[in-house]
């Protein structure tokens, strides 16, 4: 199966573990069934894959686990439609299809020796989580690491156990927040929207890279804040997540102007995004 030149053919993977992050967000830990694929599969933080639920089709998710962790991959998805809901019905031991990795990635080596600020909203933590763990696994190579993560409500925060781990490990500054009205009585984070909370947290822009992932509206309000904090467009990275199907520059679905997000992206600097036609 792996020897074929059929670019649409997925590798088979077994669901090894399931974590329910929120009522509608689930993490799957996947292990490739073919031993060779398991050994040879490698990817870079920021890349995505096409995951299939047989009988329903394919869905695009980033690879949410870190490339530094071998032997398995993880994806984390929200149930919103046909394919995601069918993926959600699968159980440990069931088979899914995975093709990829596709797209470009965060140039992590270029970040060595710098501080990092991760800014994520809602379900958009997974694409940054892969970078966060990748960098934490290489902790010595970076200066300060700040994570600003927010969701609509406490219940919508994903990776709760990992947020706790990041909070407690001492070498990461985690600022977690929920929108006004979204906090329960025991919430130990901040109340407010991500851009506002980021401005209060005021991470230094000096020798620092900012990585932003979230809904378009959050990104729109976050960029001016980063600018005020002193970040330049070349030091801000984000991912564009246009609807995709083929993932390999054929189906014509994901373009922003002449950019194929699936091939040229999904990772772009703020400078690249600003140069694009405003159609995302």
């Amino acid at each position: 199966m792996c020897k074929s030149d059929n670019i649409y053919l997925p590798n088979l993977a077994t669901i090894e573990a399931i974590v329910d992050e929120t009522p509608d967000v689930r993490t799957l830990r996947l292990v490739f069934q073919d031993e060779q694929v398991r050994e040879n599969f490698s990817f870079r933080a920021g890349q995505f894959a096409e995951y299939s639920s047989f009988g329903f089709g394919e869905s695009t998710f980033c690879i949410a686990s870190a490339p530094t962790r071998k032997g398995y991959i993880e994806c984390c998805f929200r149930s919103v439609g046909r394919v995601t809901e069918s993926l959600r019905r699968l159980e440990v031991g069931d088979t899914v299809g995975v093709r990829g990795p596709y797209g470009n990635s965060f140039p992590i080596e270029e970040f060595y020796g710098k501080s990092l600020v991760f800014i994520a909203g809602g379900i958009a933590l997974p694409p940054l989580r892969t970078v966060i763990w990748n960098c934490l696994d290489l902790r010595d190579k970076f200066k300060d690491i700040t994570i600003v993560y927010g969701a609509r409500s406490e219940a919508d925060l994903v990776y709760k156990h990992e947020l706790k781990e990041w909070q407690e490990r001492g070498d990461v500054r985690l600022v977690k927040c929920v929108d006004p009205g979204g906090a329960g009585p025991d919430f130990d984070g901040k109340v407010g929207f991500v851009p506002t909370v980021l401005e209060e947290a005021a991470p230094s822009a000096e020798n620092t890279i900012a990585l932003v992932c979230g809904p378009p509206i959050m990104i729109k309000f976050t960029l001016p804040v980063l600018e005020r904090l002193g970040f330049t467009d070349d030091n801000i990275y984000t991912t564009l997540e246009n609807r995709m199907k083929c993932g390999v520059g054929k189906c014509g679905r994901c373009n922003v102007g002449n950019v194929y997000v699936c091939k040229d992206g999904p990772v772009f600097t703020a400078r690249q995004v600003k140069a694009m036609s405003q159609e995302f």
Binding site: N6, G57, K250
Partner: protein, 336 residues
């Protein structure tokens, strides 16, 4: 030495190719319309009308299996499609606006990742193009760089002559091979004078200038003016020899079925709809703008080609009368 083939020998060639177990496809009267259909005999070929749909589907079918899956003894198995079974194909009688389209689509199908479904069909196909003598008001191939006698994309090119025979030009090795394999059907000589081609009213467009205007006018009142009325039916894309957007879906149960690639269109309202509800192209004129931009700017940026052959099919098919040639002429006259 130029060669000619009589109409009878052209039909005999089809008979022979069918006997050789090749798939021969050409314009054929199907009910009341002419469509590209498999020819079972030379007498099936009709050359007096432009087929209603383009010949693109020979290489890029409306719907095709890209894999099958089956659960056996509890374990899922995925099976590839045997592309070696794709038939050797001869497309015969395609005018330049159809014969030219694979030459355009090859670029997207073979950059970086290779779509072997399309490419294997291309490898196994020979295109016998024919100079066009039946254009109408909607045709504008000249405007986009083709012409009624353009050979681009054809392996063997036929030019109708006044005595009813055809002048033949082998454009590629595939064309030469086809002639060589059926030498006795072809005669050497220049033949009679060519039949006059359609004189298209449309002026040659300045595609470079149009592209520049598109580059500078992503936002422009023109888009609302011309495209608000588009109903997003997708007819223009489905009938177009150059459109190539597709979707991927499964058909079958969770235990046994096929995965299929099938045509899609950027004019459809949900084409770019995110699961969050956010839609980057949220109104119809933005979707139509993408259609024009893709054909006359993006594809050229990426592959150095215009994604339109000027066949005029979208103009004839559009239920609300949107005329792409008219839009291009409008843009062509803009100078800012």
């Amino acid at each position: 030495m130029p060669q000619i083939i009589t109409e009878q020998n052209l039909r005999n060639l089809i008979d022979l190719l069918v006997k050789e177990a090749k798939l021969v496809v050409g314009p054929k009267l199907s009910g009341s319309v002419v469509l590209y259909e498999p020819l079972t005999a030379g007498s099936d070929l009709t050359l007096d009308a432009l087929p209603r749909r383009s010949s693109k589907e020979l290489f890029f079918p409306i719907c095709e299996d890209i894999l099958s899956y089956k659960r056996e003894n509890g374990a899922m198995k995925v099976n590839d499609v045997d592309r070696s079974k794709f038939p050797e194909t001869v497309l015969i009688g395609a005018p330049p606006c159809d014969a030219g389209s694979p030459a355009i689509l090859d670029a997207v199908m073979s950059w970086d990742y290779k779509d072997e479904f399309y490419l294997e069909r291309r490898r196994k196909s020979t295109i016998v193009g024919i100079a066009c003598t039946k254009g109408d008001d909607a045709c504008f191939c000249r405007a986009v760089g083709l012409a009624p006698d353009a050979e681009a994309g054809s392996d063997l090119f036929l030019t109708p002559l006044k005595d009813g025979s055809y002048a033949c030009k082998a454009v590629t090795e595939k064309g030469q091979a086809l002639v060589a394999a059926h030498k006795n059907l072809f005669a050497e000589g220049a033949g009679a004078e060519p039949v006059a081609f359609v004189d298209q009213a449309v002026e040659k467009l300045d595609l470079v200038k149009i592209k520049k205007w598109l580059e500078d006018h992503f936002e422009d009142p023109l888009w609302e003016k011309i495209a608000d009325i588009c109903v997003g039916c997708g007819a223009c894309a489905f009938i177009c020899p150059a459109c190539h957007c597709f979707d991927i879906n499964d058909e079958g149960s969770t235990d046994d079925g096929v995965r299929r690639k099938h045509w899609d269109a950027c004019g459809f309202a949900k084409f770019t709809n995110h699961a969050s509800g956010h839609n980057p192209r949220d109104v119809q004129n933005k979707r139509y703008r993408n259609r024009i931009m893709h054909k006359f700017k993006y594809y050229d940026d990426k592959f150095g080609k215009t994604l339109c052959t000027g066949c005029g099919r979208c103009i004839r098919a559009c239920p609300v009368g949107i005329d792409i040639a008219e839009i291009l002429e409008t843009i062509n006259t803009k100078h800012d």
